[in-house]
Amino acid sequence: MTTAQVQVPEPRIPEWTGFDGLVQLISVDGQRTVGCPYWELVADVDAEGLRGLYRDMAIVRRLDAEAMALQRQGELALWAPLLGQEAAQVGSARALRPDDFVFPSYREHGVAYCRGVDPVAMLRLWRGAGLSGWDPAVHGIATPAIVVGSQALHATGYALGVVADGADSAVLTYFGDGATSEGDIAEAFGFAASYVVPVVFFCQNNQWAISEPVRVQSHASIAQRGQGYGIPGIQVDGNDVLAVLAATRLALARASAGQGPTLIEAVTYRMGPHTTSDDPTRYRSPAEDEEWRVKDPLARLSSLLHAEGLADDGFNEEVGVAADEAAAALRQGVLAMPDPEPARLFENVYAEPHSLLQDERDAYAAYLAEFDEEA
């Protein structure tokens, strides 16, 4: 017999059965969806709450645009824009409690903003004036992880520490669709599930890993990536700030209730280039950009606010002013940022004295001195 001819049931790939597919609370045209139980999770979000979410997104978008401009003007070495991902970042970050902890990748400027990090401090890394810009302990958010996937393991270990401390805080870690292919992400899933730790894996599926569409990473939905590890997944409309808030609240609640890890896939779109060094025209079509432009997370919430009379032109005016002020402050702070002193190079490599490093530091100082004399 040739086994290929045999008619037996194929081993079935189970359909994704998280909460009936995509969690969406606000439709693309700004209407509230009905009947979704996730509404209960954001029942407390009143008019002011909605306006606050919009304000956050508008300011974050404006800061992102200013950073882009600063890079184009040569004030930053590089910038990884979040344009289009404001709802995914603000919605998830606003679900956090102060004592929760965040492990971001390199694109979560909106999350850092919600954690109270000074935007000027964020740009220190991108200007090349330092390797990071803030104190993780103060803001409850680690500094950016550039090695794709590495931070998910740090989050899992940190969450293990939370359990050991007997605390009930949760840990939220961000990564992209491309990152899901890295072994470190899989190992983080494995450790988190094995130890049942309070970590939420938040994947912003912005459809692209630089030039590679998400199907290069996976033919299955990313929300389903955790299933084999026993990690439930939620697929949420990443451009719907309310849905993201609800889903993240649910996942964080499960975490701090001791129910273990959850994977959230926020379906969104990277409206800009991967970074300022990238040229998306080489690999994706204007049609695709257009298709997503109509799903813009800010426009969506704005139309809801206006349709329901929760915001007027005065509000837009006020938000615009706040955003411009934030942008101006960012520009001012960046331009005033000093370059690192040579001596700084040798600091904070080690906590304790290090003979070799001390010799090198002294030799280089002597060299610079000698050099100045000559000049």
Binding site: A77, V147, E212, P342, V349, H354
Partner: protein
């Protein structure tokens, strides 16, 4: 003779290698439509198809590990690691599989892999994009490690690396990608750049050994030195494992002095091996201790401070002076 950038020369070399052997396949992140973040594979997927120029999932161990399997099936994979700092997730597959597969199988299995890695600093990048990890691979038996410093060597060496039946870790000095040089694509490659060092300038007072991105810096130092009356011989190693010590020894026996320059941290860097071996082989010919100039025992710093970390012509000449006046 046509003039082209190192990046373009590598691109042409890859194209030539793919034309010459249908078993050559390229793998890596963003090497297809994008042509790689440095455009070294530009146009190759268009011309050879996505079966031979493969965009891989974002996983370096996966890239090298699958390339090992492809090699066992008779292919010649050329893997691109997007940046130096991202080769570490593949370290296990490179050190325990690529390097040891032939030995483990007593010659019955070949590993004709080429692993391309843009390396080094000086491009104002963020963390993990300016590393010089060559010593890790040079210390790993079973691998060959090479780096071209100019367009002509790049064009020939990438083809030699691909046709070699040994695994070759091919470091590309990223800050030199845009530097132009003459490349005769038709003339056969006479000297043996994949294996032999090149004496780029003859000199009698001091020898400077450099490779990859530091070769241009060493040549600058030689020019300034000449103006100041110091005759400097600059050697481009090209092969980092093994190292062509014959060429270096001959030079040092003449000059009696050696300065080794690289971007990597000096401690346990390639300069250590060179200094150790030349100190031994030229024990009675050295007028002064071999001097090493390179990165500090610190991680690569923020880009606005990298000029302090990276050796420049002045720092090299400072060591040259110390050799001349020990």
């Amino acid at each position: 003779m046509p003039t082209m950038s190192l990046g373009k020369a590598l691109n042409n070399g890859l194209r030539r290698a793919m034309e010459d052997d249908a078993k050559v396949v390229l793998m890596g992140e963003d090497i297809g439509k994008l042509g790689g973040v440095f455009r070294v594979t530009e146009g190759l997927q268009r011309d050879f198809g996505d079966r031979r120029v493969i965009d891989t999932p974002l996983a370096e161990s996966g890239v090298i590990g699958t390339a090992v399997g492809l090699a066992m099936r008779g292919y010649r994979p050329v893997c691109e690691i997007q940046f130096d700092g991202f080769v570490y997730p593949a370290f296990d597959q490179i050190v325990s599989q690529v390097a040891k597969m032939r030995y483990r199988n007593e010659g019955r299995v070949a590993m004709p892999l080429t692993i391309r890695i843009p390396f080094g600093g000086g491009v104002g990048a963020v963390e993990h994009h300016s590393e010089s990890p060559e010593a890790y691979f040079a210390h790993t038996a079973g691998l060959r490690v090479v780096t071209p410093s100019n367009a002509a060597d790049g064009f020939h060496m990438i083809q030699q690396a691909i046709t070699s039946d040994d695994p070759v870790v091919f470091f590309e000095p990223k800050r030199r990608y845009w530097e132009k040089g003459e490349v005769d694509e038709e003339a056969p490659c006479t000297d043996d750049p994949l294996r032999r060092a090149a004496v780029l300038t003859e000199g009698n007072d001091v020898t400077i050994a450099a490779y990859g991105p530091m070769v241009a810096t060493a040549l600058d130092a030689a020019r300034i030195g000449a103006a100041e009356g110091t005759s400097i011989e600059v050697i481009d190693l090209r092969s980092l494992s093994p190292i062509d010590f014959e060429t270096m020894e001959a030079s040092v026996r003449k000059t009696g002095r050696l300065v080794v320059a690289h971007e990597a941290s000096v401690f346990c860097g390639l300069g250590a091996e060179i200094a150790a071996r030349i100190s031994e082989r030229c024990f009675f010919h050295l007028e002064a201790p071999v001097r090493r100039v390179g990165g500090f025992a610190t991680p690569y710093p923020a880009s606005r401070a990298e000029r302090h970390f990276l050796p420049d012509a002045d720092r090299i000449l400072h060591e040259v002076d110390r050799c001349l006046r020990p």
